[in-house]
């Protein structure tokens, strides 16, 4: 009696495990990317966004993704007629996610650079950006030369700020973090002399956190932020470009700004930040400290 039960339990366990292992393996399909038609057929698009970068990509108290990038993502899903599966990314993983086909589009405040363009394909831009440095009010850093020998500058691993400082200021000591939430908390806690990142981001931080000032509002070259797809995924890239051009006619990104960024930046930054219809205007502006 007892042994019969034991045998049944054992065989159940083995079958259960085999089934599990199989279902795990079944997750695996060939990597690369999914074309526009494949995405439409599956009914779901995977979009990589930040989940801890307010006000561009973050999760509100109800567990919903919000922010400037997400507002655009929602529209993409709507116009494609598919559901959106948001994938939470860290800065350093963004290229990896596209190259391994784990997401279809990266909409995680991704700055267009030459190095990155060799690895992924960028669509038309939807926002302007440069680098900026924020520091505590009582020890403002207004030039990178102000940074003392023992001071550390906080950066986030895998961002343009990191690459820029490593390349142009190899002597500045960097304190690197994985996630936005960690870097910001570290700055608040006084672990570093300043935080270098996209200027949009540091301006938002200074506005939201009394006691901090953006000493260097613009650094490096004026860049743009654009959606990115896996290299060679032309069907999706073309669709995105057409979409961005079409959205320009209805001033979509201005509406996006007003819905998501107005609270943080006020109306002053609207024309500086927003790129409408994929046409970046101010590329000649501010190539300050380069």
């Amino acid at each position: 009696m007892k042994t019969a039960i034991l045998r049944r339990v054992l065989s159940a366990v083995v079958i259960f495990t085999l089934a599990l292992s199989l279902s795990v393996i079944a997750y695996a399909d060939d990597g690369d990317f999914r074309t526009l038609d494949e995405i439409k057929d599956s009914g779901v698009i995977n979009i990589g966004v930040f989940s801890d970068k307010s006000p561009f990509g973050y999760v509100d108290e109800n567990g919903d993704y919000q922010g400037y990038d997400v507002y655009f993502a929602e529209r993409i899903g709507q116009d494609l007629g598919v559901d959106i599966n948001y994938v939470s990314t860290e800065a350093a993983n963004r290229i990896e996610y596209l190259q391994t086909g784990k997401v279809d589009i990266i909409l995680a405040n991704f700055t267009v650079t030459e190095e990155r363009a060799e690895e992924v394909d960028f669509a038309l831009p939807y926002m302007n950006v440069a680098l900026g440095v924020v520091s505590p009010e009582d020890a403002v850093i207004e030039s990178l030369d102000d940074i003392g020998e023992d001071d550390q500058v906080i950066v986030i691993s895998g961002t343009t700020a990191e690459t820029y400082l490593v390349k142009n200021y190899p002597d500045i000591k960097l304190q690197k973090y994985d996630a936005y939430a960690e870097a910001k908390t570290a700055l608040e806690n006084g672990n570093g002399a300043a935080w270098a990142n996209d200027n949009t981001e540091v301006i938002a931080f200074a506005i939201e956190n009394p006691g901090f000032t953006v000493g260097i509002p613009s650094l490096g070259s004026a860049d743009t932020i654009a959606p990115a797809v896996t290299k060679g995924n032309d069907t999706l890239l073309d669709w995105l470009n057409e979409e961005i051009e079409a959205l320009g006619e209805e001033e979509f990104f201005h509406a996006d700004y007003e819905a998501t960024l107005l609270d943080t930046y006020g109306a002053d930054y609207e024309d500086t930040l927003v790129v409408e219809g994929g046409v970046a205007a101010g590329t000649d502006a501010a190539a300050a400290n380069d």
């Binding site: 045998r7 795990v24 060939d30 990597g31 567990g63 860290e90 910001k184």
Partner: protein, 224 residues
């Protein structure tokens, strides 16, 4: 309350989200432990055998598990397999593979130890009674090793739950990532949220793992 940042936990669905994140961690561990037990039994039996080549292979496998951090394995499996084989593993599948890889090695070694410790005479007597090899294992040997293995596998569950805190790094939104998201979304209104939220996460892990490891300790003493 305000100054310690505990208030953000009661905003919207925040606390439920934290618990949801914890469930993700527990689910990954339970599935991995189930796989580890089943495959570990088979591996242990093979290891207790006499095949030298198999034994040498298992030694290498055990050594890899012993010295490679789980975090490294997670990265290798999640990003590496896509690069080399073109597999597109979901983060959760990668986590389960890595945790099972670790668990099977531990369980296999424990089963081997338990099997070897059973006196030869039991095998011989059972065979003398006319049982086949499969029957010997199923009716005589395995039931005896079970008692020793149950507390150890329960222990493995808690260690896996604790290790799941790493899967945040390959994009799984578990309790720690939810904690970061909450802190980030409330940075303006409650700047001290980091204290309350991380303290809560610390306690949540403790409340899950402590009873389980007590149970394992109790069974170990009772069945020893």
């Amino acid at each position: 309350m305000q100054s310690l940042g505990l208030d953000v936990l009661f905003k919207g669905k925040n606390f439920v989200r934290l618990l949801g994140g914890l469930w993700v961690a527990v689910r990954i561990s339970l599935i991995s432990v189930a796989i580890s037990i089943a495959l570990g039994l088979i591996m242990g039996m093979l290891m207790a055998g006499k095949n030298r080549v198999l034994k040498a292979m298992f030694r290498v496998y055990l050594e890899i598990v012993r010295i490679m951090p789980q975090m490294v394995l997670l990265f290798v499996v999640y990003f590496g397999t896509t690069r080399v084989f073109g597999w597109n593993l979901s983060p959760e599948a990668s986590a389960i593979i890595v945790f099972s890889f670790w668990g099977v090695a531990e369980m296999g070694d424990l089963v081997r130890g338990a099997l070897v410790s059973i006196p030869r005479i039991q095998y011989e007597s059972a065979e003398a009674l006319g049982l086949t090899t499969a029957q010997v294992y199923l009716y005589v040997i395995l039931p005896q090793t079970f008692r020793r293995l149950v507390p150890l596998s329960i222990n493995l569950i808690t260690r896996m739950i604790k290790t799941t805190s790493l899967v945040m790094m390959i994009g799984i939104v578990e309790v720690l990532k939810v904690a970061q998201q909450i802190i980030e979304a409330n940075r303006r209104t409650s700047p001290n949220a980091a204290f309350g939220v991380f303290a809560t996460v610390f306690l949540l892990y403790f409340l899950i793992c402590w009873p389980i490891s007590r149970l394992a300790g109790y069974l170990e003493k009772r069945w020893a």
